[in-house]
């Protein structure tokens, strides 16, 4: 029987949740006995090769590409998990949410106290995905099945969640594993 597949992605995040994932240390050997990795920065597979059991989402959506990737994950994964503060609540990137987009760009590229930008341009290329009006938590864009809070969630939390789901058990995090920081 083929092993179930896991996919991961980092949207508007810092890859910290992926780092924490790698912090499961030697348990990763156990994990690869249980699963194959599909689309993920871990194995650098860029496109889904097939249906996945679990998709791990780090980060919320700050631009249109994040939305497309997240929708792609929803289409390919049976279970979608928001991993970490940014996916769940928008996190640090969402600090811009109460500020109009134009002001954010001006502050970031023109007005900010540490800006060095002699050409006084705001980057604008076809290849740059358009920013959204605000940062959206993942579950405000697609349906999310589970949430692993934390910044990042601890390796134990991620391990606990994955093994439970792979064994068909309900995901019920014990008190010490629910942390928002």
């Amino acid at each position: 029987m083929a092993k179930p597949k896991v996919a991961t992605t980092s949207l508007a995040g810092c890859f910290g949740c992926h780092m924490s994932f790698l912090d499961i240390d030697d348990r990763i050997l156990k994990l690869i006995e249980l699963v194959d990795f599909d689309k993920s920065p871990v194995d650098d597979i860029k496109k889904f090769t097939g249906r996945c059991l679990v998709g791990l989402i780090e980060g919320g959506c700050c631009n249109e590409e994040n939305v497309r990737v997240l929708q792609d994950f929803r289409a390919h994964c049976d279970i979608l998990i928001s991993v970490g503060e940014c996916a769940i609540a928008g996190g640090i990137p969402a600090m811009r949410n109460a500020i109009p987009l134009e002001e954010c760009l001006r502050e970031s590229y023109l007005k900010g106290p540490t800006i060095y930008n002699p050409t006084k341009t705001i980057p604008n290329d076809e290849e740059i995905p358009l920013l959204l009006d605000r940062v959206y938590p993942a579950h405000e864009v697609v349906k999310i099945d589970y949430f692993l809070p934390g910044c990042p969630p601890s390796a134990d939390t991620i391990w606990e969640a994955l093994t439970a789901l792979l064994n068909g058990k309900p995901l019920d995090l014990p008190y010490p594993l629910i942390k928002y920081d």
Binding site: E64, E65, V67, R68, Q71, R74, A75, L80, P100, L101, E102, L105, I122, N124, E126, P129, L130, L131, L132, D133, R134, Y136, H139, E140, V141, V142, K143
Partner: protein
């Protein structure tokens, strides 16, 4: 400038004896005199009244009619109540904007005129209507909006906008309003003649306990909507320990679609004041306060005049009608634009010069009310009923109406009906009978009891108006065919969001969440699960809120979910793509498309 400001503030504070419990009067007068209660003014008021500046700011920022930044000499407040919207408010709004060259919430550059919206100003039967400072203008059209602006530009005097006087006492020189009573059905309790003093004479011939007994025998219940037995309230107040006692009259009718108290205040203030005086005698109070909503400020000079006459007739003042030891007088406390102040403990807070936050109960006002003294708070109509009970007898009263709801009820009807106005009907009348009276036989939906009441459809028209079935403080809004009941429910929610005091979590936050979800559904971005979300959230707000506002604010959603469920169901399609229907990528990238000057690669998918 500072000296002048100082003198103005000192004068205003001196008028109320520098009493900080009269803060609402102080800041109202400051607003009227200076066009705002500026930061400097707050400091001076705090100094004069011996309080903290932030306490003044707390009051100023609570009431819609007060402002810390300058407003125009004339403020036009266009009523944006549901009924006004149904009757062409939008065209009037556009005409005002165009004629003034400003949007709502703005002031003309010359500082002459401010344009604002106001929630229901109690003129739903002559909508669209607006307040121009204290002057009411009714039956507005885009033409009359333009005329009003032109006239104000010319002379700047709102009182000169009244060209045609209304009927009855609306034409009284002290009222001088174009408001019409639209009194369509007079009953024996409220709208019957009363010889001033008649009820009081019969009360003073009895002991206070006997007066309370009579009110109990009549089984009078509060007319504001909640229906608490009035006699019992008076008895509790009388029995509660306290050095003083107070009678408070709730003339803050703010429930959208309610305007029956306005007609009482205009046409039978004696009956009302007599009822308050009877209550004063019954509970042993020496002071009554009538809390008059700021929207009805145009009635204040007339009511003051009635009070003065009653003092001259010894119907108020010391040893009333020769009864030694019975001293009672009434003052009018004007509100400043806050629906929540119709809640009895919020009303007390406002009378005490505070923000109109409701108070924790217990203690109840009967135990500890105004300034901590036992206080009976009743509705305008309730006092009128009490006076009539004393004049005509408890048995006479109790025979009218239905078993659990004796007497008559004033209903104010507006919306899609031929005869909007005020009706005095016996309790127990069926909604269908009443709709026939009002010329609304083919109504598609009726909001009974205002936004905090229930939205019912034709299958419920056989139900009766009474405390045990369709309870109402008096508002009946008729929606004809083609009206969007969910659109109306959304407007009601917006009203509650605006009018929540913000004290407790469920009301402050929950109503915003209800509103946003309903908005998404109406925008075609809902899904079937949203109905359960609304139901649960609505119930949470209802259960957990601290006062009557929050406990009823989800009713627009909960009663339409119950009675008009198909309206929801046809707007929410099940979908299996795992996407959130509420997320709108096109809208989310709209700003970026403009800034970057290119189209989204993904939004069109």
């Amino acid at each position: 400038m500072n000296k002048k400001l100082n003198a103005v503030i000192q004068g205003i504070c001196a008028k109320v004896g520098k009493d900080r419990t009269r803060m609402v009067d102080v800041v109202r007068e400051t607003q009227a005199a200076l066009g705002c209660v500026s930061s400097e003014a707050m400091d001076l008021i705090a100094r004069e009244t011996g309080t903290h500046r932030v306490e003044v700011e707390s009051v100023v920022t609570f009431y819609a009619f007060l402002s810390s930044t300058p407003k125009g000499k004339v403020v036009i407040r266009l009523c944006n109540d549901v009924v006004d919207r149904m009757q062409g408010m939008k065209r009037v709004a556009e005409a005002f904007e165009k004629a003034l060259g400003i949007g709502f919430g703005q002031t003309t550059p010359d500082g002459a005129i401010t344009l604002e919206y106001a929630p229901c100003i109690g003129m739903s039967d002559q909508a669209p209507a607006a307040l121009v400072n204290d002057v009411v203008v009714t039956g507005l059209s885009s033409d009359s909006a333009r005329e009003i602006v032109a006239a104000l530009r010319e002379h700047g005097d709102p009182s000169r906008l009244v060209r045609q006087l209304g009927d009855g006492n609306n034409a009284h020189p002290l009222v001088h309003a174009m408001v019409r009573n639209n009194l369509r059905a007079c009953g024996p309790v409220i709208f019957a003649a009363l010889e001033p003093g008649a009820a009081l004479k019969s009360a003073l011939a009895m002991t206070p306990q006997e007066v309370i007994r009579d009110v109990k025998t009549a089984r009078l219940r509060g007319r504001g909507g909640a229906g608490f037995p009035t006699g019992m309230k008076w008895e509790f107040t009388r029995q509660a320990p306290g050095a003083r006692r107070f009678v408070l009259c709730n003339a803050d009718e703010g429930e959208p679609g309610t305007f029956k108290d306005r007609v009482i205040l205009t046409e039978c203030p004696d009956l009302l004041f007599e009822g308050m005086t009877v209550a004063g005698y019954a509970i042993g109070a020496d002071t009554g306060i009538m809390y008059l909503r700021g929207e009805y400020a145009y009635l204040a000079p007339f009511l003051e005049d009635v009070l003065a006459r009653r003092r001259a007739q010894n119907l108020l003042g010391a040893a009333i009608l020769g009864k030694q030891g019975f001293n009672f007088d009434i003052r009018i406390q004007l509100g400043a634009g806050a629906y929540i102040c119709g809640e009895e403990t919020a009303l007390i807070s406002s009378c005490e010069g505070l923000r109109g936050d409701p108070k924790n109960r217990p203690p109840f006002p009967a135990q500890k009310g105004y300034l901590g003294f036992p206080t009976a708070v009743n509705n305008v109509e309730t006092f009128c009923c009490a006076a009539r009970i004393l004049a005509r007898g408890a048995g006479w009263f109790a025979e009218m109406g239905s078993k659990g709801s004796p007497g008559t009820k004033l209903l104010s009807v507006a919306g899609d009906c031929r005869s909007p106005g005020v009706y005095e009907v016996p309790f127990g009348i069926s909604l269908a009978e009443f709709l026939a009276m009002a010329g609304a036989e083919d109504a598609a939906a009726v909001q009974v009891g205002g936004p905090s009441g229930q939205m019912v459809g034709p299958k419920d028209f056989g139900r009766t108006i009474c405390y045990d079935d369709l309870a109402t403080g008096g508002s009946v809004i008729v929606l004809g065919r083609g009206r969007d009941v969910l659109g109306v429910a959304l407007e009601f929610l917006e009203f509650f969001v605006d009018e929540s005091c913000g004290y407790c979590t469920p009301c402050r936050v929950g109503n915003v969440l209800l509103k946003e979800r309903l908005q998404a559904i109406l925008a075609g971005r809902g899904e079937p699960a949203d109905l359960e979300y609304l139901q649960k959230l609505g119930e949470t707000v209802k259960t957990a809120s601290r006062c009557g506002l929050g406990q009823t604010s989800p009713n627009p959603v909960l009663t339409t979910l119950k009675n008009f469920r198909s309206e929801y169901e046809k707007r929410v399609a099940p979908r299996g793509d795992g996407l959130q229907p509420s997320f709108d990528l096109s809208a989310a990238v709209a700003d970026a498309q403009i800034i970057a000057g290119r189209a989204s690669v993904h939004a069109a998918r």
